[in-house]
């Protein structure tokens, strides 16, 4: 066991050996690693997950290390190394392997070099591209004298003819920029182009503006092109960081709007671990930024595991339950198919829309019933029993869903209101400091209690989603008992917080609230996590 434990430690810290370790392990061993890692290593509860919050600058530093490594190994500029890494989705090993194998083709793919080389190789390229597509021929022909042409473009024509930017057709522009391909455009167009790529398309891979030119702008070039627009460049850097984060399975970007923090959580990165743990993490920017590393739901959905939580949210979102309601409460007009709800009255129905008259029981036309005194004489014993069974079944399943959904939604609503309670509590705390002789530090118990209530309400909310999917057996009963305990404890504490304060009872209230606040996590644990493995 101890060797197993060391193994997991290695895997945790030594990222470079990651793949090798996985090859050695078979599936079950790596699943066990997760348990070992969490419990004995950190001496914390099994539901607590080790994670680290990183700021954008910290991630940039990580990127910087990778870039430095590559630029050191290949002997290239850091900007070039960055583009190479980006093209290989930040997979250093693969890049090194391929680069050592064929540096030219890797550079071409990364948009660093032109595919056409002067002299010897040019004829080869011409031959291959010529046969592929006729339109390529012209560019290949140009490439024949590629080097000469670029040189020519770079030096003399400035005097002969004023430069006309091929994009904005402005001949008064004097400042131009070009990538290594020599496609010159005015600085203003480059600026507008990069801004549009970064802002509108969210693209960090900015190619040359010329048609079919695959050359990519380096960070330095982008910065120069954007000029004074520093916010666009910041966005560009953020996009690069996001790309880096999305390529690394141990990292996740905080899903809260405009938050730029990243969370590193290697234990929540494997799919198999998600069936036993719920990796709830928070980012360093704001304590409210809690999210699940496994499924990106921006809330603490314990005790429900990711798969079930997703299933439940999906169920609540789509219209399947609306359809269920319609199915159990309505019938369709057999002529025009409009949906009809019978909310009283006799069985002689007249469709509001097409005026079709029919019998609610047999759905046949009313004219055939004649004067049958509102009782259907075409009553088919079996068919009607079947119909009623189907209807009551779907009604029962609907009711079951609504039972859980209402409680789920109720707790969500209450948790939202707790936020409001927060501000009220603050006022109350001030008041308490004045009326009784408690100090600021002594009234903090109120705030703690509100936090606890909020946390428990979130958990309670998800226990209802879990209960919906639990099979009916002894364990479910146990689960429901625990759920009830927690619910009661939360309601009691909630009531205490809301109660009015008078100077005499303040101390007693403090005692009670503190007592409940301390006890709540104990109940909370028993509710959620003894049963995690159930689903």
């Amino acid at each position: 066991m101890s060797s197993d434990y060391e193994l997991s430690d290695n895997e945790y810290y030594d990222e470079e050996d990651d793949e090798v370790m996985y090859v050695d392990d078979d599936g079950s061993a790596s699943e066990m690693d997760v348990d070992f890692r969490i419990s004995p290593a950190s001496k914390s509860k099994s539901y607590e997950i080790d994670y680290e919050s990183l700021t954008q600058a910290q991630v940039e530093k990580l990127i910087g290390q990778d870039v430095e490594d590559i630029s050191g190994i290949f002997g290239v500029e850091p900007d070039t190394a960055s583009l190479l890494l980006r093209n290989f989705n930040w997979n250093k090993e693969k890049l090194i392997e391929k680069y050592m194998d064929n540096a030219t083709s890797v550079s071409i793919a990364a948009g660093l070099a032109l595919p056409e080389k002067p002299e010897a190789s040019s004829s080869r390229f011409e031959a291959s591209s010529g046969s592929r597509r006729p339109t390529r021929r012209s560019t290949a022909e140009q490439a024949k004298s590629g080097k000469a042409k670029i040189l020519e473009r770079l030096t003399p024509p400035a005097d002969e003819q004023p430069f006309v930017c091929p994009i904005c057709f402005d001949d008064t522009q004097t400042k131009t920029m070009a990538l290594a391909c020599g496609h010159k455009f005015c600085t203003e167009c480059w600026s507008a182009y990069t801004t549009s790529k970064i802002r509108t398309e969210g693209e960090h891979w900015i190619t040359c503006m010329a048609e079919d030119c695959k050359l990519v702008a380096t960070d330095e070039f982008v910065k120069k092109a954007l000029g004074s627009d520093t916010s666009a460049f910041a966005r560009y850097q953020e996009l690069v960081v996001r790309h880096f984060v999305s390529c690394n399975k141990n990292l996740k970007y905080c899903p809260y709007p405009s938050c730029t923090h990243t969370v590193s959580c290697p234990s929540g990165a494997s799919k198999s671990a998600l069936t036993t743990i719920v990796p709830i993490v928070g980012c360093g920017a704001n304590t409210a930024h809690k999210f699940c590393f496994g499924c990106n739901i921006d809330a603490d959905h314990r005790p429900v595991v990711c798969g079930v939580a997703k299933m439940w949210l999906q169920k609540c979102q789509d219209d399947s339950e609306t359809a269920n309601w319609i199915k159990s409460n309505t019938k369709e007009c057999s002529k025009c198919q409009s949906t009809i709800e019978k909310n009283g009255g006799c069985n002689h129905m007249t469709c509001k829309k097409c005026k079709y008259e029919f019998c609610w029981v047999c759905m046949g036309p009313w004219s055939e019933h004649g004067t049958a005194w509102y009782s259907c004489n075409r009553y088919d014993e079996k068919a009607s029993i079947d119909a009623r069974d189907a209807q009551s079944r779907s009604r029962a399943s609907l009711e079951r869903y609504l039972h859980y959904y209402n409680r789920w939604a109720n707790h969500e609503q209450s948790a939202k209101l707790s936020m409001e309670l927060y501000s009220r509590t603050e006022r109350k705390m001030e008041e308490m400091q004045i009326t009784s002789d408690m100090t600021w530090i002594e009234v903090q118990f109120m705030k703690k209690a509100v936090d606890e209530v909020f946390k428990c309400r979130m958990t309670l909310k998800w226990t209802y989603a879990m209960a919906y999917y639990l099979e009916k057996n002894n364990q479910k009963e146990l689960f429901e008992d625990n759920q009830r305990d927690l619910e009661r404890a939360v309601e009691e504490l909630s009531e205490l917080i809301e109660s009015s304060i008078d100077p005499e009872s303040a101390l007693a209230l403090r005692q009670k609230v503190t007592d409940k606040t301390v006890r709540l996590p104990v109940v909370w644990q028993s509710t959620g996590f003894d049963h995690l493995h159930l689903s």
């Binding site: 091929p166 994009i167 904005c168 057709f169 402005d170 455009f185 203003e188 167009c189 507008a192 182009y193 549009s196 790529k197 509108t200 503006m209 010329a210 048609e211 079919d212 030119c213």
Partner: protein
């Protein structure tokens, strides 16, 4: 002056001055950002002789984002929606480059008519027709060109009068096939619709038995 406006004005001027290409660009209203382009159907294709009009909208971020184009003239082509005129062409999407112009884009549309890409279709039914029976597809495309784009009609077809549209030829079907199912008592328009949907053309006719068609017709 605004760079976008200057560029568009220059592009319109360029198109006007170049008469050899037979490509025109005209303003729709007062704004230079909503235009109507037109070009002739390429020679040696079913679209030859047709005059095709394209609706052009120039977005605010032009030329850094692509122009929006769609056919006003109905075109029977795998990469053009036969209902809406929407065009499936890479340079109108991710392969756009700011150096491309209205003229070069219209020329690209012209060459799209020369070389359809049935594997990346906009209109799946037309693409199926193209894949199963090229000759029948070309005949239909020629008929559409004749009806909608003012192209020359096939000598045999013109007999029925230029203005009356032959629904059967429009859908690229054989008159005998439609007559056969109509004789079974189904509405003519429904027969045409079903046969078109099932791609009842060329080699496919042998694969689809009559029961399958009737089943579809009864739905």
């Amino acid at each position: 002056m605004d760079a976008r406006l200057r560029r568009v004005n220059k592009e319109i001027k360029d198109c006007k001055s170049d008469e050899a290409s037979n490509i025109t660009v005209d303003l729709v209203g007062n704004s230079p950002f909503h235009l109507k382009g037109s070009f002739l159907g390429p020679e040696g294709t079913p679209y030859e002789g047709g005059h095709f009009q394209v609706d052009i909208v120039i977005p605010d971020s032009y030329p850094f984002q692509p122009v929006k184009m769609k056919f006003i003239t109905k075109v029977y082509h795998p990469n053009v929606s036969s209902a809406s005129g929407a065009i499936c062409l890479d340079i109108l999407k991710d392969a756009w480059s700011p150096v491309l112009t209205l003229k070069s884009t219209l020329i690209s549309l012209q060459s799209l008519l020369c070389s359809p890409e049935p594997n990346d279709p906009q209109d799946a039914e037309v693409a199926k027709h193209y894949m199963t029976s090229r000759a029948s597809f070309e005949e239909t495309a020629r008929y559409w060109t004749h009806i909608y784009a003012g192209g020359p009609g096939k000598s045999g077809m013109a007999k029925g009068g230029v203005d009356t549209k032959d629904e059967v030829a429009m859908a690229g079907l054989e008159k005998a096939h439609v007559d056969k199912f109509e004789a079974l008592g189904f509405e003519r328009s429904k027969v045409i619709d079903v046969l078109r949907r099932l791609n009842y053309r060329g080699a496919n006719v042998a694969k689809l038995n009559d029961d399958r068609i009737v089943e579809e017709l009864l739905k």
